[in-house]
């Protein structure tokens, strides 16, 4: 532990990242360029999120990592271990107890509080990227607030599929100004983007940081006749019976059997501990 500076990065780098974070908070949704460092993990594993977490953590913090809702998958385990080794901070799997939560592609089901920070790992921060490949042009579009093109994407969805089929990374407008990619969270989580906690977004490969301050208005883009819908599988959780959480579909066999379970493992566990029982919970226990 002592061979590393606290939280791996050197103090100058953390300072640079904190400046970018502050700028991001001051201009909600604006992508602040920063000098992303090489981290001891490959791009796509959350190098942006890790740098933001490293700049945000203090020795008193309790750290939680989620990978698509789960605390026990490779990405979550390795990042949690990384900060256990380099920062020596306490870690937890319970959303309630964490002060800094790094997440990949989910927002926890439990409501976050004002004293918590959630850090998102972002693969491609530019919401207009697949419509307009030129960075010079997308920057101009952001600065001049020309967002008609974003609706062209939604138009294409409706004309091809009869509904807005974008299911994740659903574009939002932050504080009435910038259109932002909320990272690949399911659109079920979009309404939760208006929350009490600070939200920081880090894209390591693309070298961008952006942020949404607490209580900021975040509107999902839509059409008047095709309003935004936060969709999920129409099913209760098969383990804890929750009707309000985002579900993963698990194929059980090759005979068409499947089960739906909460993608947020901590939420599911805490509900089961509280005595909630789903359709398949008994079998599993036995």
């Amino acid at each position: 532990m002592s061979e590393y500076n606290f939280a791996y990065l050197d103090e100058q780098t953390k300072r640079m990242i904190r400046r970018a974070i502050l700028k991001g908070l001051a201009v909600p949704g604006y992508q602040v360029p920063f000098a992303s460092r090489e981290m001891p993990m490959p791009y796509g594993w959350g190098t942006g999120g890790v740098q933001v977490s490293a700049a945000t953590l203090t020795p008193d913090d309790t750290f939680k990592v989620i990978d698509q809702g789960a605390d026990d998958t490779t990405n979550a385990v390795s990042i949690r271990k990384f900060f256990e080794n380099t920062a020596g901070v306490a870690t937890t799997e319970e959303t309630e107890k964490a002060t800094v939560i790094q997440t990949r592609h989910r927002i926890p089901e439990a409501k976050l509080r004002e004293d918590q920070i959630i850090v998102y790992q972002v693969p491609i921060p530019e919401p207009l990227r697949f419509l307009e490949p030129r960075e010079t042009e997308t920057r101009k579009m952001h600065s001049l607030e020309e967002y008609g093109l974003m609706h062209v994407k939604l138009y294409e969805d409706i004309s091809q599929h009869g509904a807005i089929s974008t299911a994740y990374a659903y574009p939002v407008k932050v504080s009435g100004r910038y259109v932002m990619d909320p990272s690949p969270i399911p659109k079920f989580d979009n309404p939760k983007l208006e929350m009490d906690a600070i939200q920081l977004f880090g894209a390591g490969r693309e070298q961008r940081i952006y942020a949404v301050p607490p209580h900021t208005k975040v509107v999902s883009l839509d059409f008047e006749d095709y309003p935004f819908e936060a969709t999920k599988a129409d099913h209760p959780c098969d383990l804890c019976g929750a009707e309000d959480s985002y579900l993963d579909e698990v194929i059980m066999d090759d005979a068409g059997n499947r089960m739906f379970v909460c993608s947020d493992t901590d939420y599911c566990r805490s509900r089961r501990e509280a005595g909630h029982v789903g359709r398949l919970a008994e079998e599993n226990a036995a």
């Binding site: 008609g148 093109l149 062209v152 004309s159 839509d222 006749d225």
Partner: protein, 256 residues
């Protein structure tokens, strides 16, 4: 009557070379102006300067805006100019691929300008797209096809529909019939002439095809080496060319 567009002393240089220089003219509402000349004579440079794609080194391009009256578009702020170029102006490229989004359906291409000015009702946007496809003689069943599945002539007509959907008052066209075979050219010209008359559009058409200007343009400017060498009514210039270069140009047209 106030001219819709006044061009005063436009000059654009590429280093020591002249792109175009000392161009002056007025364009009145409903008027179609043709610009002809050989390759490299500065036609496209002039068009791009007027449309705001290039910044001229000198001169003014004064456009009669709906709200503020005549304003110099060269010195106006970029957001204003970009707003103008997607509402009151339209630009038809020579190659439809430059003016279309090839990965977006025909309906989306037409709807883009509508959505860019704040249209947020899918049904309305789609109705307008279908209506405009009809106006440019593309079957309504093609509304969800991508432009890459269209023929060259259809792509060009789609580009025109996409540009005219917001009801612009001034259309810039850069060789709109270039690269199309003659029968498709004829149909396109017929269509353009109909739309220009019906919507009362003003247009500036750059071309090296004299037949195009004969059909579409009320007035004609002939350019050579960056200078306007002759200007006047189309029929007058073509039937009684004064400048040596214009005479050469008119006599070079192949007769069938």
């Amino acid at each position: 009557m106030t001219p819709l567009l006044q061009v005063k002393g436009i000059e654009k240089r590429y280093g020591a070379r002249v792109g175009c220089t000392d161009v002056n003219f007025d364009l009145y509402p409903g008027e179609v102006m043709g610009i002809v000349g050989e390759s490299g004579s500065g036609k496209s440079t002039l068009l791009n300067c007027m449309a705001g794609h290039l910044e001229p080194d000198a001169g003014q391009v004064i456009f009669d805006t709906r709200v503020d009256g005549p304003v110099d578009t060269v010195t106006m702020s970029e957001p204003e100019r970009r707003m103008l170029s997607r509402t009151d102006w339209a630009f038809v490229h020579q190659h439809a691929r430059d003016g279309l989004r090839m990965s977006v359906s025909a309906g989306g291409n037409i709807g883009e300008r509508l959505m860019a000015v704040g249209d947020r009702h899918y049904g309305d946007i789609r109705d307008k797209a279908v209506d405009w496809l009809g106006r440019v003689e593309i079957d309504a069943s093609r509304v969800d096809d991508r432009p890459s599945a269209f023929s060259g002539g259809m792509q060009q007509r789609l580009q025109i529909a996409r540009n005219l959907v917001t009801g612009p008052r001034l259309v810039f066209m850069d060789e709109p019939t270039g690269g199309l075979d003659v029968s498709v050219q004829a149909r396109l010209l017929d269509l353009l002439r109909g739309l220009v008359r019906e919507m009362g559009l003003s247009a500036i058409i750059v071309t090296h095809d004299l037949a195009v200007v004969r059909l579409l343009a009320d007035r004609l400017m002939v350019m050579k080496s960056g200078h306007v060498v002759e200007a006047g009514l189309t029929d007058q210039v073509l039937d009684d060319p004064q400048h040596a270069y214009t005479q050469l140009l008119v006599s070079s047209v192949l007769q069938v």
